[in-house]
């Protein structure tokens, strides 16, 4: 296998986001994740400047790379044109492809995201769909959302949507021919392979953790990675 730094350089986001860092720390000052988590984008770029496989593997297995919220405030402010948010994307992709993501609590969550948002895309043609935002998994949505889900057809109809019906309009049913095109795009662009990577490495990890794993969502492994919080991620811990 190529040196990992070379693999990172094959990702255009890494090329765009990683230039010579002068350690000024503006990215950290502006970063919402750095305020909440034990996270420091300045240190991340510094570590990468070592370019060694050892330090990159340490990152790919770490909690660190999963803390960024992708707001991209860092892009606006860096005086050298670095974008730690882009660098994070390249690191996360490599972590998933090489299977290191299951080594961290936050990394294992990729499975829960794949089983929710990921599956929604190919099933409904939407990242988010009323049938996919279950009130029990989203108590923060409150009683109005539960009311919407329980009465979705009537409410959507009242508001002029074309809910789950063919044709144009809000929340229309995406036709099978369009879903087939999405699937074909996933197949030729590596989307399907990345889903398989998440599924396969997660299945192996579930075995090691003695947790049930199957095609149903949720399952025991899903519930653990979706809700597990060691509370060891914040600065004060």
């Amino acid at each position: 296998m190529k040196p990992l730094f070379e693999l990172l350089l094959s990702d255009v986001r890494f090329v765009e986001g990683y230039h010579t860092c002068m350690n000024c720390g503006v990215c950290t000052a502006i970063c919402p994740a750095a305020e909440f988590y034990d996270y420091d984008p300045r240190k991340l770029l510094n570590q990468l400047q070592q370019k060694s496989d050892e330090s990159i593997i340490e990152l790919l297995k770490s909690e660190t790379i999963w803390y960024c919220g992708q707001c991209m405030s860092c892009k606006t402010r860096c005086p050298r044109g670095n974008t730690p948010g882009f660098v994070i994307q390249a690191l996360r992709k490599l972590s998933v492809n090489l299977g290191y993501f299951v080594e961290s609590e936050k990394g294992r969550q990729q499975f829960a995201i794949k089983r929710t948002v990921g599956d929604n895309i190919l099933k409904f043609g939407y990242c988010v769909h009323p049938q996919g935002v279950a009130p029990d998994l989203h108590p923060e949505q409150g009683p109005v959302w539960r009311w919407v889900v329980d009465n979705a057809e009537g409410i959507m109809d009242r508001l002029g949507a074309n809910y789950n019906k063919p044709g144009a309009g809000t929340l229309r049913k995406i036709a099978q021919e369009d879903l087939d095109e999405l699937q074909a795009i996933f197949d030729v662009t590596g989307g399907t392979a990345m889903y398989e990577s998440i599924e396969n490495f997660s299945r192996e990890k579930a075995k090691l953790m003695n947790l049930d794993f199957n095609d149903d969502t949720p399952n025991e492994y899903f519930n653990v990675v979706y809700s597990e919080n060691s509370n060891q991620h914040n600065k004060n811990n």
Partner: protein, 353 residues
Amino acid sequence: METKNSTRLWKSYQKEIADDHYYYARSCIRQNFFPASEKVFLKILQEELQKDIYDDPHHTTCTGIAYHSDIIPQETTATVIARHFALMTELGYENLAISCVTSFGLYTELLETWKHFPEEEAKIRELLWKATRREFSIPKNLAHSSDIIFHNREEINNKSKRRLVNAKTGQPLKVVDHIGCHYAKLFPEKGIGGAEFPYVLTGMVESWGGQVIDYPERRHCCGFGFRQYLVMANRGYSVSNSKKKFDSMAPYEPDFIVSNCPGCSMFMDKWQYTIAEMEGTTYGKGGYGIPVLTYEEMAGLVLGYDPWDLGLQMHQVSVEPLLDKMGIDYSKPNKYKTQQPNSFPKKPLKLMV
């Protein structure tokens, strides 16, 4: 000198907005949580402004939420977006009206990437052909749908039935504007006012009689954070960011919040409920929250539309305190009226509704 520099800086954050003939790129989150907003946007363009905008049943998600949660590669998202370009090319459209701020950021990022890395464009063209046998032209104009309302704000003002003014005192309503991060933080020159001087919503508010509050955390992220919200274990990040904003804006006593991002609008509405239930804190008067509007809803109220046709009943924070201030006559029984009789949301324990 200072004025000249400010003027020059401001000019660099102007953008060209196509005047007509748009292909509409819908938003997953807006359709889910604010279904009437997209309906109203089309109504305003087609019926109030007599514009041509095409709502394509073949348009799908851009996959942006999955992309920024890092479960799919960049090539997948780029090719899905390229398919949208192909659909509009086949229909003869050159101008995109994009409902979602995440999508707007991604469409923009893609075109900027292709300028610097033409080999990436060639690769995506090949992948799209392989998957769908489609080809595309580069769109001439990319606008977020809030840009288009901003562009037409004076014509909307001319047709307005209501003003963003307290009906009793005659004073302008105090408004917090919240710009979605990916609208201008990624490419400041692509957003009206850039990342530092956001004006796309302020321009609407000022034209329609309101007054925007410039509070300390005005430019702070709402805290969506993609994977930070999608996974239950991470939601502390998400709610903490919104709380930081609420705590910062509360002393200015805003009458409402308006956002151009569907996710931000939803989170700033729902997190007020969560914070109230978690710790008893509420940010409006009398135990209510601060109402949160999409810009389509704000435009709809100004144009005199019925609040329940605008979908304001889907908000967790009650909008009635705002409607009362604006002197809007609304029907209480119609709020939750659907085909299902006697179906109402439960009342929260702490937040007044």
